[in-house]
Symmetry: C2
Subunit: 300 residues, 2 copies
């Protein structure tokens, strides 16, 4: 079975929505990604946490079969994010970010992780993403996520890392910002011209779009009556997407399309509960059932 390596944040989130709030719940891109991807294939995690990180949260990740051989524990506080959502539950307003030990972290990929088949570089300084790429051999595919901050402040490094990855996973707004165009079609073409052969544009409640040089694929979000907390939806999507690719052992066109649906399904579980509770609690059977339901929602 192909293996997946994820390098990214583990965090404690304080999340407010119009109807509920939770403090100090397990979050971070790597937590969400790994929880989803581990439903499909063996996942190795490289991340950093502080003194305050609870053993039970380490156990929650380990219990999902995630290999934590790359988890560093350092003196200081864990990455802490405080965010708030309005009634539309679409865009998070960041109230506060304390990088803690994540701030000056330079990931070290353990020797045993260097040969991974799929690598996901979660959102972090693109200079660090480049440094991680120097430590891995990923014969099948490397994917990365990024955010508006790096587009604004580290554009050159971001362009350099984009040349070295196979798959980019990015929000619709960030794709527009990166390419300075409102048209997603044009932005997709521009991003693919920068190096990657696959682009996934995450459109939140509106779904996700997949672009290659040959074609594009447009999937809706899985319709839900109640969304509890959209935090981590994008990273959970990426986890389901990469997880499925690893499981099926292919990155051809049809596999990529099915991977989008798996990402969509995983994200739908994630947003139904706070923290990783939704995706970690979904059985493979429930994932399969929702996958078939999603297929039916788009079949002509």
């Amino acid at each position: 079975m192909p293996t997946i390596l994820v390098v990214g944040s583990l965090a404690y989130d304080d999340v407010r929505t119009p109807v509920a709030h939770r403090d100090r719940v397990l979050g971070g891109a790597a937590s969400y990604f790994a929880s989803a991807a581990s439903r499909y294939a063996p996942v190795r995690l490289v991340g950093v946490v502080g003194d305050d990180f609870r053993d039970e949260d380490v156990a929650r990740l380990a219990d999902q079969g995630i290999d934590l051989g790359g988890l560093e524990r350092r003196h200081g506080d864990s990455f802490r994010w405080t965010g708030s959502y309005d009634f539309a539950l679409d865009t998070a307003e960041t109230i506060n970010t304390d990088l803690g030990v994540f701030g000056d972290w330079r990931p070290k990929v353990p020797d045993g992780f260097a040969h991974s088949d799929f690598v996901f570089l979660a959102n972090i300084d693109p200079e660090i993403q480049l440094a991680v790429l120097d430590q891995v051999r990923a014969p099948t595919a490397v994917a990365l996520d990024t955010m508006n901050y790096w587009i604004d402040h580290s554009r050159d490094a971001l362009l350099r890392v984009l040349r070295r990855v196979d798959i980019v996973s990015i929000n619709e707004g960030e794709a527009r910002q990166l390419c300075e165009t409102f048209s997603i079609v044009r932005a997709a073409r521009d991003i693919l011209a920068l190096g990657p052969r696959v682009l996934v544009v995450k459109r939140g409640e509106h779904g996700a779009s997949l672009f290659t040089r040959e074609s594009s694929f447009w999937a809706p979000a899985f319709p839900l009556e109640d969304v509890v907390d959209p935090t981590g939806a994008g990273d959970t999507f990426a986890g389901g997407f990469m997880g499925y690719l690893a499981e099926c052992g292919s990155v051809d066109g049809p596999a990529l399309r099915r991977a989008v649906l798996h990402g969509t399904v995983c994200a739908s579980f994630a947003v139904e509960r706070f923290s990783i509770d939704g995706i970690a609690g979904a059985t493979r059977d429930e994932i399969a059932r929702r996958y078939r339901a999603l297929q039916d929602l788009i079949a002509v």
Copy 2:
């Protein structure tokens, strides 16, 4: 071939977008609907225009094969709408509305139109939609569109007309407003409980969703590099949707899904140019080609 009756507005629009503007161009729900639907099946139009309505615009509609036997010309000005779009080209800001002769119009359906197979009640006072329903026999299906104003100001009449139609075509925001819920899934269930057996929720650049009591179908918009003017997209969608149903002579589940794609394709042509120029200029061959492209964009 089954026939289609549309009752609704013809207008002159003044439209501003961030990159262009046009004054006094042919618009109105019935113009857009009929231009799309007439690509598929014979269309009869019931509407009203003022002294200022140009003969060449009457000719433009007639040249598409639209039966204008229900077009009244009255003393006064035609319905005039002035709208503006920001860079996102999603929601129109209405700058001004002059109802003109449309304001106190009571549609009279000519005897020859009373037996139509499909009826589209474009957005207008629901009391008037009810009065139109009393004048027609529509054995196959009646569809209606409405808007936020009637939801706020004529809710009772709107609920009465909803009980008498088969298909509702409505914007996402209006569906939420009508049902006082943010969840489209819940809003859809509520609207179907009011009487219609089919609901189409138009989601603008994010596509359209179809709901019946048995299932739902989620289609993306047709991706375009350049949108020139979104005015009329929803009515053009409805025209392609109803037109296809009339052409194929069925309103079963698979036909409804294909109809959503036809509506999507027609709308994509409409937004590429001002006024009805885009949809009126699209050949049946171009429509078929874009339909196949759209099928490929959603195929798994």
